[in-house]
């Protein structure tokens, strides 16, 4: 990495908006914070006196907890605000909520929202730093960064890696962030899904597109298996969970034809027996729990860098 890269962005809205160097800086910073999380005393004073708000318009225990821990390990004060999506239309607007939070002298707003682009709109309206914790189908940058950190620590590099993203690409913010991040760092990305779950023009994001699971697995160094949400958008696309599992589910049988040490990732929570068998989820190729651990280091890096962004006052 070019050590001279300086972080200047006020916000982290998505990996689409970052340069290769900025992503490398994030991963480099995350790697050094990872060491902190293994100490006896898991705390540094980097954000002492700063306040972070987790503003969540969508319920999410795991991402919220991960951000909360990350902020606390940097010695920041943390507040959690949960707003029910159903109350948004009649209640206070996002911009008003943002300005009110800012009036409480909050430094960083971590926002999770069901509407794509909500963090972009919020970031334009407040001076506080805004970190996207997942917006609609748009981006989930910290998830992609933790996936990339996990891959890098397992395989030592990202450039030239063959990574396949498998599942509901159309409705996945995890897929989009991973595509931007991995392609910028030189990985070869393939997306694989039933035809109805492949969105228009996804190939123009620099990925190979296939509906054939065996093609996606063949030669892959790693796979990132997405959560299938049949109760939501997937309902039209596939007749049943069992049918999906038969055609796209990752099983030990399917992994036999893959690279022996293929990395298996999943952003969680897993639907066992739908997108992946339990045997694979708990097997030797799975790095799913390591991803969760790396999530804290990545989020520490993000909070730290946006808080200290040069020239973003």
């Amino acid at each position: 990495m070019d050590k001279k890269t300086i972080w200047t962005k006020k916000d982290l809205l998505g990996l689409e908006y970052l340069s290769k160097e900025e992503i490398e800086l994030l991963l480099y910073t995350a790697a050094s914070f990872k060491e902190v999380t293994t100490r006896q005393i898991k705390k540094v004073p980097a954000l002492r006196g700063k306040t972070v708000v987790n503003l969540f318009y969508e319920p999410s225990t795991r991402t919220r907890t991960s951000f909360e821990l990350a902020a606390k390990r940097l010695s920041a004060d943390v507040i959690n605000i949960e707003i029910e999506a159903s109350s948004v239309k009649k209640g206070e607007t996002l911009i008003d909520t943002g300005r009110n939070i800012e009036a409480l002298k909050i430094d960083i707003i971590v926002v999770r929202h069901n509407a794509s682009g909500a963090p972009n709109i919020l970031a334009r309206s407040v001076r506080a730093r805004v970190v996207n914790a997942g917006d609609g189908w748009h981006e989930h940058p910290t998830q992609a960064l933790l996936d990339m950190l996990t891959l890098k620590s397992k395989l030592g590099r990202l450039e030239g890696l063959k990574v396949s993203i498998i599942g509901d690409i159309a409705h996945s913010r995890v897929a989009r962030s991973n595509i931007w991040g991995l392609t910028k760092l030189g990985a070869e990305v393939t997306v694989c899904a039933p035809a109805l779950l492949i969105p228009d023009g996804i190939g123009r994001m620099g990925v190979k597109v296939t509906t054939d699971i065996d093609e996606a697995l063949r030669g892959a160094d790693a796979i990132n298996v997405l959560r299938m949400q049949f109760e939501r958008d997937g309902a039209l696309a596939f007749p049943s969970k069992l049918e999906y599992f038969k055609q796209y589910g990752i099983t030990a049988e399917r992994l036999k034809n893959c690279k022996k040490d293929i990395i298996v990732m999943h952003p969680g929570p897993i639907n066992r027996g739908v997108e992946m068998s339990s045997e694979v989820a708990d097997g030797k190729n799975s790095v799913i729990l390591e991803q969760v651990t790396n999530g804290i280091a990545v989020r520490m890096a993000v909070l730290y860098l946006v808080a200290h962004a040069k020239g973003a006052e």
């Binding site: 689409e16 948004v88 239309k89 607007t93 996002l94 911009i95 929202h113 509407a115 794509s116 682009g117 909500a118 972009n120 709109i121 917006d135 609609g136 189908w137 748009h138 981006e139 913010r173 989009r176 969105p199 228009d200 023009g201 996804i202 123009r204 994001m205």
Partner: protein, 430 residues
């Protein structure tokens, strides 16, 4: 008795009377008295139009004035101020008010407001169906007696084909123009922007071009079968242009309009989640923009209309998904037409004025759109070289939902006569 004026030294462009030359115009008693070279007459006032284009007053046949019911967004007064500022002397106001204009009493009371507040001519469109609900036809006959010029459920599209057939027949019977917002909602429902690479990137629910052109195709077939007239509102995509072009060749009695944003902007603009780029139909691709321009150039698209759709800041300052569709357009339309079409040699001045004045006047059947001696003196004087930055504070409309704020624009209306009265002079509304 109204004042007598002389407009001196301008380039007079009148597509109807095939005029494009340096001429003078005398206006008296609210009418055009004489058009000719180097006129000499005793007048109350002379307007120097040297270096300017003198055009028949512009007509915008697609304006949402919001009155009655949404006076927080726009009123007859503010909307017609915006119209005059943009160079328009006549506008057709859409019936999707609250309540909708589906009954003669509502037209009657709107006419009273217009008589009291309007700065330019306002023509009224009535709803096709009761409550604009797409189920039962409004009483066209009674609406016609209140002086409406057209019927449309604009904002919504008639989905039921039998009802559409009946509407086309009845509109023909009462000599009303039927304007259709063409959208197959089973394809577009829930969408907020054009379907394509940008919607994929932005993760936004999308509206495919098919939702527009399949509805157009269906309506053209009906119009052909019934030999009925139909006017297609706000054409946005390539396939729609192609279908209308073919239908015109086949002799279908179809006319069509597009809006300035469809020949100026693409769906790339939506990538920043600026809600002033959210409209229905949505901004499409570069390929569609080129097709719209070609359609204007070859006469497939007859009219440029703004689809002026005011929304308050508080309605628009929300997540992209939750914002209402639509942008204001009256004050920027002419400049965009000049910059994107005349300067880029897509249209001549004669062509531009046809789309902005002569054609909409002809389609609506209103006494405007030309500079014939004896006709009402609705005249727009345009400075084609005027450069300006479109500032939020300068907006006359009550709403400010424009994607063109802070754009550097060129060419603007400077003086406007409505029925022989100066309504705007040297860019100041009087």
């Amino acid at each position: 008795m109204k004042k007598r004026y002389m407009i001196k030294g301008g380039r007079v462009v009148d597509p109807v009377n095939k005029i494009d030359s340096g001429l003078d115009i005398i206006i008296s008693d609210g009418k055009i008295e004489k058009v000719g070279p180097a006129l000499d007459a005793k007048v109350d006032e002379t307007i120097n139009a040297k270096g300017h284009i003198v055009s028949p007053g512009l007509i915008d046949m697609h304006v949402h004035l919001r009155e009655p019911g949404r006076e927080d967004e726009e009123t007859v007064k503010t909307g017609t101020r915006a119209a005059v500022r943009g160079g328009f002397t006549g506008i057709l106001c859409m019936p999707n008010t609250e309540p909708p204009l589906d009954k003669p009493q509502i037209a009657q009371s709107l006419k009273d407001t217009i008589a009291k507040d309007a700065l330019c001519n306002v023509y009224i469109a009535g709803a096709i169906t009761i409550e604009r609900a797409g189920r039962q036809l409004a009483d066209f006959e009674k609406l016609k007696t209140e002086g409406i010029f057209a019927v449309t459920d604009d904002g919504s599209s008639i989905q039921d084909m039998t009802l559409m057939e009946e509407a086309l027949k009845r509109a023909a019977l009462f000599k009303l123009l039927l304007i259709e917002h063409c959208e197959n909602t089973s394809l577009s429902l829930g969408g907020v922007m054009n379907k394509g690479f940008v919607s994929t990137k932005a993760g936004l629910r999308s509206i495919p071009a098919e939702s527009e052109y399949l509805a157009i195709e269906r309506n053209l077939e009906l119009a052909k079968k019934l030999s009925a007239r139909i006017h297609i509102a706000h054409v946005s995509c390539k396939e729609s242009v192609e279908m209308i072009r073919r239908a015109k060749k086949d002799g279908v009695k179809v006319t069509a309009e597009t809006a300035p944003h469809y020949f100026t902007l693409t769906d790339e603009c939506c990538a920043t989640y600026d809600t002033n780029t959210k409209m229905n139909p949505p901004l499409r691709t570069k390929e569609d923009v080129d097709a719209i321009k070609a359609g204007l150039a070859d006469g497939t698209l007859d009219v440029i209309a703004t689809d002026h759709a005011p929304h308050t800041d508080s309605e628009k300052d929300v997540e992209f998904d939750y914002a209402p569709f639509g942008i204001i357009g009256l004050e920027t339309a002419l400049s965009l037409g000049i910059t994107e079409l005349v300067d880029k040699k897509i249209l001549s001045w004669n062509g531009l004025i046809s789309k902005f004045s002569t054609n909409p006047a002809g389609i609506l059947g209103v006494p405007a759109g030309n500079l014939k001696e004896g006709s009402p003196a609705d005249i727009t004087i345009i400075d084609p070289d005027k450069e300006y930055v479109f500032k939020k504070e300068s907006i006359e409309s009550k709403s400010r939902n424009s994607p063109f704020i802070n754009w550097k624009l060129k060419g603007r209306a400077v003086t406007v006569f409505v029925n022989g009265v100066i309504t705007m002079r040297d860019e100041r509304i009087l």
